[in-house]
């Protein structure tokens, strides 16, 4: 193998698994260290810069970082990254003075369709640069689905108000209760750019016999949730069936439990394991005495002269074809009818753009989705950008934020007369952590603690009031314990070939047997000759150039604890622990060029 080019910004970024997995590439270990130091406001600001809604995401994020967390490859459970983010939000001081100021307007006007996370992220990036941002939303308040679809017992209004407020206070013009009904009309208003962040607002229908007749007691999940959110709906029948296995279904069933639903059941077509809902959301539902019945396909709503009485399900089983694809086939058992008073249908969401006329220069594909460039988020109309669920269908808030940053950068480049396809590199700050002979400026002592549970409110109290937040969040002590579990994967092991005397000290001390000195070879061959087996080929090998004996140093990055013992036991300083703080370049930041050094 060729020597690893550690100056390529992606190399060490990949080693920080959580940050690499995060769509917005939040520097996770950096903020976790700050939490451990009690610097909550600093931790919050790192998040705020990167993911815009730390308090909201710290309660609701789908956490792509956690399955990626290296800790999960070393012991059973990853670091509770998401809930630590909430800690930063919960314990921070007043940070308003640290936020950007509304700046003098540059005369450019940008319109936003929808006031959800994608639009607000774009506005957050553009407003401080002097753009006049006007956000239109059909709802009276900003937040979009964060406000209308996520139940208050998971995400209180106060958090949404605070974090949307930080953005609107940047001088963003929010036009609540103003639904955009025509793209043509909006284009006619001569905005310099338009960002569409209107989400995926339509709940998928379930067109099976009895749907029309029983309509009074069959509700579309997301519509019902927003109706509950606005206080239009405040009760439901005693026996409720929720159809669907995603996170919306979990929100529906738990909401129903708080509005009078005593026997609430979730019924899914697939197996329990394959459900789309996040494992922790399923856990929370089960904890609230909501059974999840699987392998049942709804075939008909049963009604008595238009009054819903239940749903008939066909029993199915999973079969896998030669390509490993799953098919649900009837199991042959008799159909099952489950009685109920109300049904919540949460079987998916769809995009809907009835307000975009055909002659706006915005082309749609065969799935009726706008043709959007996945890097720049521009549509076929060079002035119109899409982001969030509106661009590529329903995903999570963090994706909307990440896409918002990219779209904001495109809009800024477009309106600055630059080529929007040229994207800046991330900013990388490198600093050695060496303080003394065996002292580091990060805590390299590895905690053996298991993942700390987030305290929950007592179930009896929690179920009484739909606005009472269930999760209480970590207290300072629990947060410290959990923060200590972080392995500081951004503090990188950096190897200098010229200093190495091949004494084997690093090999002998490494608790994870990551380091091997061996003859060089092709990657597949090298992976066979490591001191400990290579378990994850997707994890890189760090290979040195040739050493004095003709061998090379090979480090399998996979399960390195970043404990720094290799560097502590190295007599010549050939190993050093260097922090690589990698931050995405947003609109308005100085764009680093390729010539800037990463190491």
């Amino acid at each position: 193998m060729k020597p690893t080019d550690i100056a390529a910004p992606d190399y060490f970024h990949k080693v920080v698994d959580c940050q690499w997995a995060c769509p917005a590439h939040t520097p996770v270990p950096e903020y976790i260290r700050l939490i451990a130091q009690g610097r909550y406001s600093d931790a919050y600001m790192i998040n705020w810069k990167s993911n815009v809604f730390p308090g909201i995401l710290g309660r609701t994020c789908d956490r792509p970082c956690e399955p990626a967390c290296r800790r999960g490859r070393v012991e059973e459970t990853p670091v509770a990254i998401c809930r630590l983010k909430r800690v930063a939000a919960d314990f921070k001081d007043d940070i308003t003075l640290r936020l950007p100021r509304p700046s003098a307007k540059n005369g450019k006007r940008v319109a936003f369709v929808g006031g959800g996370p994608a639009s607000l992220t774009v506005a957050r990036d553009l407003a401080p640069l002097g753009y006049h941002c006007t956000v239109f939303d059909g709802d009276p308040q900003a937040g979009g689905m964060m406000r209308t679809q996520i139940p208050k017992f998971r995400l209180p209004n106060s958090v949404i108000d605070e974090e949307t407020g930080y953005i609107l206070n940047l001088g963003v013009d929010f036009k609540g209760g103003h639904r955009i009904e025509s793209m043509k009309a909006l284009l006619a208003e001569k905005y310099d750019a338009i960002f569409v962040g209107s989400g995926a607002p339509r709940g998928r229908e379930l067109d099976i016999p009895g749907r029309k007749e029983a309509a009074a007691n069959v509700h579309i999940g997301i519509d019902w949730l927003s109706s509950v959110s606005f206080g239009h709906t405040d009760k439901i029948g005693k026996r409720v069936i929720v159809l669907g296995g995603g996170n919306t279904a979990m929100d529906c069933c738990r909401t129903a439990r708080r509005l009078g639903g005593e026997e609430v059941k979730v019924v899914v077509r697939s197996g329990f394991e394959e459900m789309k809902a996040s494992p922790w959301e399923k856990e929370d539902a089960l904890h609230e005495d909501i059974p999840i019945l699987n392998f049942l396909v709804p075939v008909a709503f049963v009604h008595d002269n238009g009054k819903l009485t239940g749903i008939t399900f066909q029993k199915v089983k999973a079969e896998y074809d030669s390509k490993g694809r799953r098919n649900l086939v009837p199991s042959g058992e008799p159909d099952q009818t489950i009685e109920c008073d109300d049904v919540l249908v949460a079987v998916g969401q769809e995009n809907a753009f009835p307000w975009i006329e055909q002659d706006c220069g915005i082309e749609f594909d065969k799935w009726h989705m706008p043709k959007v460039d996945p890097k720049t988020f521009v549509s076929t109309n060079p002035k119109v950008f899409f982001g969030g669920d509106a661009a590529f269908g329903p995903k999570n808030i963090i994706w909307a934020v990440a896409q918002g940053h990219d779209a904001a950068l495109s809009i800024h480049k477009l309106l600055s007369g630059e080529d929007i396809t040229e994207r800046p590199l991330p900013e990388v700050h490198v600093s050695s952590q060496k303080m003394g002979i065996h002292e580091w400026s990060y805590d390299n002592d590895i905690s053996n603690d298991k993942r700390y549970k987030v305290p929950h409110r007592d179930k009896v109290i929690a179920l009484k009031d739909i606005r009472t937040e269930v999760e209480l969040g970590y207290d300072v002590k629990l947060a410290l314990g959990e923060a200590e579990r972080c392995l500081n994967c951004d503090v990188q092991t950096v190897f200098s070939t010229s200093l190495c005397i091949e004494c084997d000290a690093c090999v002998d001390i490494c608790p994870m047997d990551c380091i091997t000195f061996t003859e060089n070879g092709e990657e597949a061959d090298l992976r066979q000759h490591l001191k400990a087996p290579s378990l994850h080929p997707d994890q890189d090998l760090y290979v040195s150039s040739d050493l004095k004996t003709g061998r090379v140093m090979v480090k399998d990055e996979d399960v390195c604890l970043h404990c720094g013992l290799c560097a502590e036991r190295c007599p010549t300083g050939a190993w050093d622990m260097q922090k690589y703080l990698i931050e995405m370049t947003h609109a308005g930041s100085a764009c680093p060029t390729k010539s800037r050094s990463a190491a």
């Binding site: 005397i501 000290a505 399960v559 404990c563 036991r569 007599p571």
Partner: protein, 351 residues
């Protein structure tokens, strides 16, 4: 010195030996020696050898004297018996322990100061008596703990870190061990684990006095130009006569070397040593030949390494003395004191 404990986590794919232990289970405390010390590599090699042999840690007694080398038993086999003796007295304490309980595996760990100076006599007599042990000298040629004076194994003409030339003749412990009748004699280098680990494993399997001299660079005081115990010097002057693999346990013997190049030596414990010859003329069963070979190469400044001499049919001190097979601590009172009738009979035999 490293202040943190070595993390308990280990690689999830680590192999386990027959006892279900990983090599991490054979570790001791974290080393307090200087970073990069050759002794730490010897520690790692002992750990690896014991792991590969699936040795139960409670069956090992590790005994040492004084010095950097003699600190190392704290860093391996944390669940074994240990005795850190007075300076140079490791061989006597080991001999006593071995006589009291022959069931344990005895690892004598010493250094060039401990064995070639203050404990030279002790070393000589334990070898001479054929105590069943693995005697490892971690040989760096300097007194590291007292900041780098020449030890008795420093070569004449080699230079200290301060530039002083050594005018004394060196003691070659391997030559002495051969001369005193050790039945397993080897030399190796801390920076060459592929050679050292099987040598330690083979020595543990040998019943009799096994002696391994391991050149172990002192990173702080003896790793400079002019030293003959530095990483660079040893790598340049290393003349390995053979390489070996130790074949133990359930694994069938599958040696795929060209015929004639491999010599299999069967040991008392049933293990086999497959010796790959590097020097075609070298015969590891010829004590006299080994001594000559060693002297000839030493004169040329070469460091001969490998398994230099082995007598697979060796006897140990217990055989010489015809001692009781049961460890003394498990002998019951009626065996120890068989009664006056037995005493009378014994006395009668002497009349």
């Amino acid at each position: 010195m490293t202040y943190i404990a070595k993390p308990k986590f280990h690689h999830p794919g680590l192999k386990k030996n027959e006892l279900g232990y990983t090599h991490r289970d054979y570790e001791g405390k974290i080393s307090t020696l200087c970073a990069g010390c050759g002794h730490d590599s010897i520690t790692a090699s002992i750990i690896e050898a014991c792991y590969e042999l699936s040795i139960e840690p409670h069956r090992v007694a590790k005994i040492s004297g004084i010095g950097c080398s003699s600190k190392t038993p704290d860093y391996f086999l944390g669940n074994s018996h240990g005795f850190n003796t007075v300076h140079g007295r490791m061989p006597s304490v080991l001999t006593g322990a071995n006589l009291a309980n022959r069931d344990l595996i005895y690892l004598g760990v010493s250094g060039d100061g401990d064995s070639a100076s203050i404990g030279f006599g002790q070393f000589a007599h334990s070898i001479r008596r054929g105590v069943n042990m693995t005697y490892i000298v971690e040989n760096n040629g300097v007194y590291g703990l007292t900041k780098g004076q020449f030890s008795a194994t420093a070569d004449r003409g080699s230079k200290s870190k301060k530039g002083v030339t050594n005018t004394d003749n060196a003691i070659d412990l391997v030559a002495i061990a051969l001369q005193l009748g050790a039945t397993f004699v080897a030399r190796s280098f801390s920076g060459d684990k592929t050679q050292l680990v099987p040598l330690i494993a083979a020595a543990i399997g040998h019943k009799g006095a096994s002696f391994i001299d391991v050149i172990s660079p002192c990173i702080a005081f003896n790793n400079h130009a002019g030293s003959t115990k530095s990483f660079d010097y040893v790598r340049e002057h290393n003349d390995a006569v053979n390489r070996l693999d130790v074949l133990v346990g359930r694994d069938p013997i599958a040696v795929d070397y060209a015929p004639g190049t491999v010599q299999v030596v069967e040991q008392h414990d049933g293990s086999k040593i497959a010796l790959r010859k590097i020097d075609a003329d070298y015969d590891p069963h010829d004590r006299l030949g080994a001594q000559t070979f060693l002297a000839r190469h030493a004169a040329k400044g070469q460091i001969v390494t490998g398994l230099l001499y082995v007598d697979p049919d060796a006897e140990d001190l217990h055989a010489h003395l015809d001692t009781v097979e049961t460890p003394l601590n498990t002998l019951e009172a009626d065996t120890l004191c068989p009664g006056s009738a037995a005493l009378d009979k014994f006395n009668a035999s002497l009349r």
